[in-house]
């Protein structure tokens, strides 16, 4: 049986995290959970501990990339076979976890992405802000140009990874808005990717990282990140 770890990066998500952990209670027998508290100033750590979930508390804020990578390091050191990344803001419904793991257990993919925009079953109820949609469209096209692979939801944080993929990411992982760049790293290094259709919920509490200025700067960051991946010496 596969040893699966659910990695939940969280930054000031005390309200959303409580709801998410309550939902995850029913999965505790199947999967282990780790919360990576990215130096929150609220009660994120206390909330996680109240649900008896172990916490990796970072002393300084590293951003989503640094937080997720800490989870990957934890998974490597504790001998997990598969990890599933779930955002602490509660947008990701735990009902998709099993579907995300299936292709990995069958050996069909090294990384499975939960996508809102697959052509056969798009999430029509999910409303993406215009600026974010522009940024996502840009990164999708850029990734397609760079690799020839069409990933419809490059910014989705709902992903599962097999041991080889998260072991690779435990060594190097992008820092800011890492989702699209991480996909390029995987494709560039020969990992297999797969998308499955999922439905996501809107954020109820807390603040999104995609506010006005980050949304405007996002395409530029993606471009720089992609150039960096191409310039860097490949280490599989």
């Amino acid at each position: 049986m596969m040893k699966v770890l659910l990695i939940i990066p969280a930054f000031n998500e005390e309200e959303s995290l409580a709801k998410l952990l309550a939902e995850l209670e029913q999965y505790r027998k199947q999967y282990d959970i780790i919360v990576v508290d990215d130096a929150s100033v609220d009660k994120t750590t206390e909330i996680a501990k109240s649900y008896d979930v172990p916490v990796l508390r970072l002393a300084a804020n590293l951003g989503i990339g640094g937080a997720v990578q800490t989870g990957f390091k934890y998974a490597v050191r504790n001998g997990y076979d598969t990890v599933v990344q779930i955002d602490g803001d509660g947008q990701h419904d735990p009902i998709w976890i099993e579907r995300l793991i299936e292709p990995i257990s069958r050996g069909e993919a090294d990384c499975v992405i939960g996508s809102r925009y697959t052509n056969n079953d798009p999430d029509r109820a999910y409303r993406t802000p215009v600026l974010r949609r522009i940024g996502m469209h840009f990164s999708t096209r850029l990734l397609y140009l760079a690799t020839g692979v069409l990933i419809t939801d490059t910014t989705s944080g709902l992903r599962s990874l097999d041991h080889r993929a998260f072991e690779y990411f435990s060594r190097e992982y992008p820092v800011d808005h890492p989702e699209a760049e991480a996909l390029l790293m995987l494709l560039n290094t020969g990992f297999k990717l797969k998308e499955i259709p999922v439905k996501m919920r809107s954020r109820q509490t807390g603040n999104s990282l995609f506010t006005l200025i980050p949304s405007v700067v996002y395409p530029f960051r993606v471009l720089v990140g992609f150039l960096e991946v191409f310039l860097r010496i490949k280490r599989k």
Binding site: I34, V36, P54, V55, L56, R57, L58, A59, A60, L62, G66, Q69, T70, K73, Y74, R77, V175
Partner: protein
């Protein structure tokens, strides 16, 4: 070939000398790392020599084919400035990578510590029950 006037050269040399003294004071008071300051000190020393000794500045102007001492110093300063900024960016990148790794290790260790503490408490309460 234009060179700098004597008062201007000496004023420049004095300012650079004061900067050198200030840099050394920062190192002495542990506010500046000597390794990080080396390139800066070398540049200050070189600029001081260039300003204090006219024949040297004349030779440099001839060597790089500049019209006058001003443009020669400006060109050298720009090249050195670019090299220094690049060196500092490399150092900042290295340090931020190290800081990230240390931060992550701290998080991983504190979780391990929590786990050990919890197992010790469980063992302790088990002993008391027996």
């Amino acid at each position: 070939m234009g060179t700098l006037s004597i008062p201007l050269r000496w004023a420049g040399a004095v300012i650079i000398f004061l900067f050198m003294v200030y840099t050394l004071m920062l190192i002495r008071s542990n506010k500046l790392n000597a390794q990080h300051a080396t390139s800066w000190l070398i540049a200050e020393f070189f600029l001081f020599i260039l300003l204090a000794f006219d024949p040297i500045s004349v030779s440099i102007v001839r060597l790089i084919g500049a019209n006058n001492a001003f443009s020669a110093i400006f060109l050298l300063a720009v090249v050195w400035g670019i090299a220094l900024i690049l060196d500092l960016l490399v150092r900042i990148s290295e340090l931020s990578n190290k800081l990230r790794a240390v931060n992550q290790e701290l998080g991983l260790l504190s979780e391990r510590f929590d786990r050990l503490q919890q197992s010790l408490m469980t063992a302790d309460s088990d002993n008391k029950t027996k």
